[in-house]
Symmetry: C2
Subunit: 224 residues, 2 copies
DNA sequence: TCCATAAGAGTCATTTGTGTTTCTTACTAC
DNA sequence: GTAGTAAGAAACACAAATGACTCTTATGGA
């Protein structure tokens, strides 16, 4: 048994403590939440997944709701969305929306938790959910628009906030309605057929080049 | 005891049968679903609410998932959304969106059921949820657009389908993100600042009169 | 009126999950 | 090395829900 092998074997018998343990607990809780939803989340299952005992969980969180909420917060904190920088707004936005759809399980877990009663049980408010769901994303979306403004692509003073929010709102809607990845055709339709024409409408776009009026593509959404 | 009093008393002791019983069962299940969510839905509680015994439920539905799904279907069938006819598209649309937000509890109940595992447990597909959530509403939305076309307000051949869907998608999004009624300012912003400009962009509007570019209202959404 | 059916009530056995407690022992700091 | 703390394991008591079963009796149709 080499020194390395012994170190690995010793590691296997070691108890986790402090930060390392808490990270592992919260990660296990998050994974259970994403896989099974809030309703089916149990302390026992989280404990098993984290290779620990329930008493360890109860020493930190009074119950399932508090654990779930802490897991959500932890996940958001430790998994920031990378900010694209493609050099132009359209590509930044499409990249970001693609990243969003790859993480749709997070949205489902959080909204599902709320609808399952989490925020009532944890004695906090739906406003916190909004902060968690939207707050973690708005800075990113704001940043790509700020960058576009810096590049001279966009005049933010002319564009209502709800225009900037719209692509993300529609993505969230679709993710919750279909439980499938949002197809690329839909992402490009949101950007090219809805968002960019609105930017142009408000005179927010500084460089011509946006798609003009086009024949209606009459695209079929993934509804069946 | 008069004849009327005896009739009322007799009614109170009467058993329900057939359609009347089944309607009562499904209504009770729906009400429980809306109040407590899918996770906390129990056969016992539905039975109590319907003033019946669990055996009566089990005689019809093998379990909670089937009952919940049947309740959802029954509710949609028996509660169609009234179709506004104000004489112009904008007011029809705003009226319809207001009706939507008053019924946000339905959306929460259905999406919550899905996220709580209903459609897996009931061995049906998320596509059915989409049909239930969207199908019951798309005909209405389609109708107001058809009417506008008949009135000569709108040229449907020029407008992509996802433009027509957008107001409803955004409403659903907001209802799920805020768990509050969508404020009127937001509804009018969706219609006047997002939807109508897009109609104009595609040349779908036949009569001028839509709002032109306006200074960004920089409206605050209900986020805090 | 009689008969077949099912509504409604109550009971039972089983399972699952919660919350707690006790015990052993790993671990850190002194 | 010692002491204090908490991780991890196991067991316990209790509550809630499920699914099934038995019994009484209301109900509709013949």
């Amino acid at each position: 048994m080499t020194l390395m092998e012994r170190s690995v074997a010793e590691e296997a018998n070691r108890r986790r403590r402090g930060r390392a343990l808490e990270d592992a607990l919260l990660r296990a809780a998050w994974d259970e939440l994403v896989e099974s939803g809030y309703g089916a989340l149990t302390m026992e299952r989280v404990a098993v997944r984290a290779a620990t005992s329930r008493a360890v969980l109860y020493r930190r969180w009074p119950g399932k709701a508090d654990l779930a909420l802490a897991a959500i917060r932890h996940h958001i904190e430790t998994n920031p969305i990378p900010l694209p920088d493609t050099g132009n707004l359209r590509d930044d936005l499409i990249t970001l929306l693609r990243a969003m759809t790859r993480r749709r399980g997070e949205l489902a877990a959080m909204i599902g938790a709320q609808l399952g009663g989490l925020f009532t049980e944890a004695r906090t408010s739906p406003a916190e959910l909004r902060e968690l769901v939207l707050g973690g994303r708005r800075p990113s979306s704001r940043r790509i628009f700020d960058r576009a403004a810096e590049r001279g692509e966009l005049d933010l003073t002319r564009v209502p906030r709800h225009v900037l929010d719209m692509p993300f709102d529609l993505m969230r809607h679709d993710m919750l309605m279909t439980f499938e990845p949002v197809p690329d055709e839909r992402i490009t339709a949101i950007v090219d057929d809805l968002f960019l024409p609105l930017l142009a409408h408000y005179g927010g776009v500084r460089t011509a080049g946006g798609p003009g009026p086009r024949p209606p593509a009459e695209e079929e959404r993934p509804t069946s």
